[in-house]
Symmetry: C2
DNA sequence: ATCTAAATTTGACATCGATCAAATCCGTGA
DNA sequence: TCACGGATTTGATCGATGTCAAATTTAGAT
């Protein structure tokens, strides 16, 4: 059995960190005993290098995924062929699970945005399980609920806030709650952050430089905040 | 027992149209027998006049709703106190159901945008039912899935299309599929359509006048399309 | 049919963010 | 440590949309 460096499909090579993320997934975290075993048996683990397609818009949806490590970009093409990110999935995020009961075709393109490990769940197998096992149905509900809430937040964020406000919000979600200075490190390229916030990369860059006036310093992936409280006022 | 004209709360006065909408709700459409009865018993019907608050951001979420007739506006306030619509709910739409398993507080304001009849479901009662009855859990899943998909479409639409394109898309979803001329009537004020599409009312108006070049004529709530096919090319 | 208030449109701006190109920075591998 | 290539920033510009005010239209009530 031969595997390329680009794609490995195995249930065995799960490192500890990936395993921990997997077990905290809404799909697995509340399961025990038999349900957990059955759910795990519908799953396989996939590792991909950067910029590999996971699925394409319009394809038959026969699996959904959880990100264990790395990042996944969900995007669509506009009329001119330009890509617009709909969602950036981080470790712990699930995507395409809404097609369990919502449709049969993928609705956008999915591609890795880094070397990425995914848990792949067979759509039909999980459908069958959810029909049988109460706690699995509940896990599906919890996952969908959380996903829906973050997606509605995304709409609200897009419609309500300017670019600097969105960036400030993002920084604040990663900062200690008290008011003083803080320093955080982006876990990914600015490219991806731009996609999360619905901005072009240049707009993100300009938003950062607007925030300099509010005491935000950016060097590479490191963001220093002079006064967390001041950032809230933006 | 006295009722004001502004709010009537009763299970009895459901006209035929409202009843038909109610039974097609994802929450009820797939239920039969005992499940249907139990679900109905957690429900009450509420009628409100225009511009009445249903709930406010931050309040305790003890119910979710289905729109039977009329429209509901979900919105948030930005820092300047300006309202931005997050979602416009039409007859058949459910809102706040993501809080069944996703949180305990309402995340935005909800207010009627017309005289409106709602089905009100007690949150805790439905939670208990979903834990007991398989088909109710499934109904919840279906509802959440569909809602999640439309919300992701909303993000995509916002990020991918210009104002005239969004308006064209909206018109096309209400037009016969073949290519010729067509005429539709908006079921609500343009105000609401603007909110659905994430536009200021003035921007909607300008989008319509842009579409005049493509053979779209607007008089009041009536929209005439010269060539449906041409509209797709926008 | 007429009147009135509300909704919509239009005009004039101001702003924001996208786009393209060029310069610079950063991280990685040798 | 150095050099390279990709990522990011910056500059210049443009187009799209929000905003406010005024004109006009529409819908509902009398």
């Amino acid at each position: 059995m031969e595997e390329t460096a680009d794609m490995m499909n195995s249930n065995f090579k799960l490192n500890n960190r990936d395993r921990a993320v997997l077990m905290k997934t809404p799909f697995l975290t509340s399961l025990t005993g038999n349900s957990l075993v059955r759910m795990m048996s519908t799953m396989s683990v996939i590792s991909l290098t950067n910029r590999k397609s996971i699925f394409r818009e319009g394809e038959n949806a026969d699996a959904f995924y959880c990100v264990l490590s790395g990042y996944v970009r969900l995007y669509q093409l506009n009329r001119d062929g330009r890509e617009a990110d709909i969602r950036i999935c981080s470790p712990g995020d699930t995507f395409a699970e809404c097609l369990l009961y919502g449709g049969t075709k993928y609705r956008h393109h999915a591609q890795t945005a880094e070397a990425t490990t995914l848990a792949r769940f067979d759509m039909q197998a999980v459908r069958d399980l959810a029909d049988q096992e109460r706690d699995i149905a509940k896990a599906v509900i919890t996952s969908l609920s959380k996903h829906l809430i973050t997606t509605m937040d995304c709409v609200a964020n897009d419609r309500l806030h300017t670019a600097p406000q969105r960036v400030a919000n993002y920084i604040l979600t990663r900062c200690p709650v008290d008011g003083g200075p803080a320093s955080i490190r982006l876990p990914f390229q600015k490219n991806l952050l731009a996609g999360m916030l619905g901005l072009a990369p240049e707009a993100l860059s300009r938003a950062f430089s607007t925030l300099r006036r509010t005491g935000v310093t950016v060097r590479g992936r490191v963001i220093q905040v002079g006064d967390v409280q001041a950032l809230r006022e933006i």
